[in-house]
């Protein structure tokens, strides 16, 4: 296990280096000048030169990249202040320190992602299990049909609909907002409840269908039938033998989904005007804000890679037949 983790961690570093280089150089491939952003209304070529110098983008791109990467490991000094490691620099758009900004936005995205995942896992797996247990009945058919309909929904479609109904017309809940969990647990829960439920609607459908089919498959496995033949109760066999085996494909897809939910938080955050990493990423791209784009990209990539490593490791835990190699 340790060898596996070390090997995967080294691989992750290489992947992150590639992502950073590709992002950095692609940024400059677009015919857009970040200095224009800070040049005021009556901009002139000589004013642009002053700004490029201030931003440090008057140097060749490889040199800038080198300084950026060194800053992450060793820190840098800027006119706006010292920037200790890990230093991603200061925003071109508003001179905010990138790392602090990311840390400030991270809890919103984590709360949104993890909370949403908990809700869709509970509801999705539960519905799938019941459908498998009641295979062929009206309950099974109802769950299966519903999951088909819901899986075709999109957050940017269903989000405003839920807001219009629950917030604007029925006044059941306040506008979604993020309040830190440590400051106000109740406010945190109620503020994010609508986004969680909307995320849940989209993802639950997949988990219902997947867990149902996986469970039905498991219930037909030899070892499960043998357990039943030995006289164990249906309930015991269901949870002790079939359920654990049915989790393997769920864990695989959950790892991918959690990563994509994290990476795709921008749509959810945008829909509900939540200040997380997703909206930060969108605004940074819009503003040609290279340091912020790089920071968010590397931060998100690190988490997605981390999720994948955790998922791989989790295989071995759930199913001892899987060996890490």
């Amino acid at each position: 296990m340790l060898r596996f983790l070390i090997r995967r961690s080294l691989g992750a570093v290489v992947i992150l280096l590639i992502i950073s280089a590709v992002t950095f150089f692609l940024f400059y491939a677009v015919p857009r000048d970040p200095a224009l952003l800070a040049c005021g209304k009556n901009c002139t070529p000589d004013a642009l030169e002053v700004i490029r110098k201030n931003m440090g983008i008057d140097e060749p791109v490889p040199v800038q990249y080198w300084h950026f990467m060194v800053g992450i490991l060793a820190g840098r000094e800027f006119a706006a202040g010292d920037c200790p490691a890990p230093c991603f620099g200061y925003s071109f758009a508003n001179q905010d320190p990138v790392w602090e900004t990311i840390l400030d936005r991270f809890p919103t995205t984590v709360s949104l992602t993890v909370g949403g995942a908990v809700v869709f896992l509970i509801i999705g797996l539960g519905a799938g299990m019941i459908a498998a247990w009641k295979k062929g009945t009206l309950v099974d058919k109802a769950f299966s049909s519903l999951s088909l309909v819901l899986s075709s929904m999109q957050i940017y479609f269903i989000g405003p609909l839920v807001l219009a109904l629950v917030v604007y017309n029925l006044n059941l809940l306040d506008q979604p907002k993020y309040v830190p969990l440590t400051e106000d647990p109740v406010g945190w829960f109620t503020g994010l409840l609508i986004p969680w439920l909307v995320i849940q609607i989209i993802f639950t459908a997949n988990y219902t269908r997947l867990s149902r089919s996986s469970m039905i498959e498991q219930l037909q496995e030899d070892h499960v039938r043998a357990a039943r033949a030995k006289g164990m109760s249906g309930k015991y066999v269901f949870f002790r033998y079939a359920w654990r085996g049915s989790l393997i494909p769920i864990v695989t897809i959950f790892g991918v989904d959690l990563g994509s939910l994290f990476g795709g938080a921008m749509i959810t955050e945008w829909t509900f005007s939540l200040p997380g990493l997703g909206t930060l990423a969108v605004n940074s791209v819009r503003n040609t804000d290279l340091p912020m784009v790089m920071g968010v990209m590397l931060f998100a990539a690190t988490f997605i890679i981390l999720f994948n490593i955790i998922v791989d490791a989790a295989y071995a835990f759930i199913d001892p037949r899987v060996r890490l190699s």
Binding site: V30, P31, R32, D33, A35, L36, L37, A38, C39, G40, K41, N42, C43, T44, P45, D46, A47, L48, V50, I51, N54, A79, A80, G81, A93, N94, Q95, D96, T101, D104, R105, P160, L163, A164, V167, Y168, N169, N171, D174, Q175, K177, W270, S273, L274, P275, T279, L280, N283, R286, N287, T288
Partner: protein, 598 residues
Amino acid sequence: MSRVSIRTARASLAAVAAGALFLTGCSSGGGGGEGGDKSKAKQQGQDVSYTFADEAASQGPAAEVKGGRKGGTIKVLQRDSFAHLDPAQIYVSDEGSLSRLIHRGLTTYKRVSGDKYQVVGDLATDSGQKSDGGRTWTYKLKDGIKFEDGSAITSKDIRHTIERTFAPFITEGPTFVQQWLANTGGTDYRKLLKDGPYKGKHLPDSMLETPDEKTIVFHFKEPQAELPYALAMAGYAVVSEKKDTKEKYDKKPLCTGPYKIESFKSGKSMKLVRNPEWDPKTDASRNQYPDAFDIQFGVSFEDSTKRLMSDAGENQTATSFTNSVDASSMQKVRTDPEIKKRSVSGYQSYVSYMNINMDRIKNKKVRQAIAYAMPNQSIVSAFGGAGGGQMAGNYVSPTLVGHKPTDPFGKLKNPQGDVKKAAKLLKESGKKGMKLTFAYQNAPEWQEFSVAATQNLEKAGFDVQKKDIIADTYYDQIGKVKNNYDIYHNSWGADWPSASTVVPNLFDGRQVQDGAANYSHHKNPKFEKEMDEIRKISDPNKAAAEWQKLADKILTEDVPAVPMHYYKTIQLSGSKIGGAYFDEQLHDIQPTSLYVKK
């Protein structure tokens, strides 16, 4: 409709993407909430007036708003966060609205009634005393003006405020006063004070003089009749000499207005609370009704529109300083009586133009043909109809002093263009069938317009080659002097209510360079001479009339660009917000008159 965007460096812009409008000091427009839309009147050339006020008109306190009451918190929904808080870095309208609440300068604007505005003394006792034919301007500071820390504002702070705009880290704010003091264009003024005032050097008294604690004297080489307008820009609001932290001031400025910053989480929220050091007796144009403003960022136009239309819960005490009603809801807002009464509307400062690249299209008849063929109504429709804009007959916005509703190409008579006349002119030019490269932003509005424009141009006899350019890079592409396009649109807004910051920027041949706003590359020494002459006129109202005349002459004689439309906007507030009106100078809702109803 979508606002004219901005924040990309250079001037104009009409991107839906980026953000706030450049802050402009001009104009007028049909105020909705209080008096309906006055655009029709403006089209007929009535209205807008600005005067430079004396000491009596500059004294506080400001007139009470009818029904105004103290207390409560106003929720403010904003799309874009404030990129800058240092006054010297402020040039966009989002921060301009904020500046009204937290910053003060030597002069500012005061609405007297309806379309009547005055430039009054803000920190100064009046709008300025000029002498030497407008080359020398003297300002005296009021008594009782303080920073939020209680320290008195003196002439040294004003000197410091001006001198620090020469420092290399100040790059985004206005540059008018610096250029006038140095009597140079571009950024040459920086050579006068390379490090700003930070290494002990100062501007000579022959330029900027502070004979005592209360007096500031500006000395210019040329007459500067419009100095009171320029000093009213947020970019020249006062900065404390003692508490200036250079780059860091942008995050934590000392406030002087009726509110100060309690907290600011960039991209998330800002809370403004009462500034106890602000004395209403010193302020002729601001009120201080709510206890606080609770500003939330990251709220799209669609989201803020839906929230404010719903008027549910906390949205009843909500508004937005600069978010417009989004195009899809504009019709509903204009027709639903309950929502309409909570709306205000008026002109933005921007005018859209179809530039004709004069380096490539040298034949005047071809340019005239393009002008006649343009379907101006189509761009108004694309921006949401009457609520989003109004057809333009000439280059000068109705928001500017001196505006006349001239219409040399008959745009108002032929809203969809005069294709027959265009075809005739093109035939006469001998260029029928010529290729015409038409570049436009890939924003939905311009894409929609491009279809109608292309149809007209092709009917007139052009072989149109459309170039759909990514919105984010559009102005980089058309800003290059050696570009490969024949026609392309841009937008431009004045910095104060005079075309002196429009006509030269767009049509002075001495300003043709990469990134400059003379996108048509128009050069005509005759007109450049006239521009120089108009600048010398000491009466701003007389000068304004001359700018309009010159703009019309450029349009009819050279046709470097086709005026397309005047941008307009609609804004909403919750039902418990009182005092809302569309400020025709700010081009947005006026934050200093708002209060929370019982």
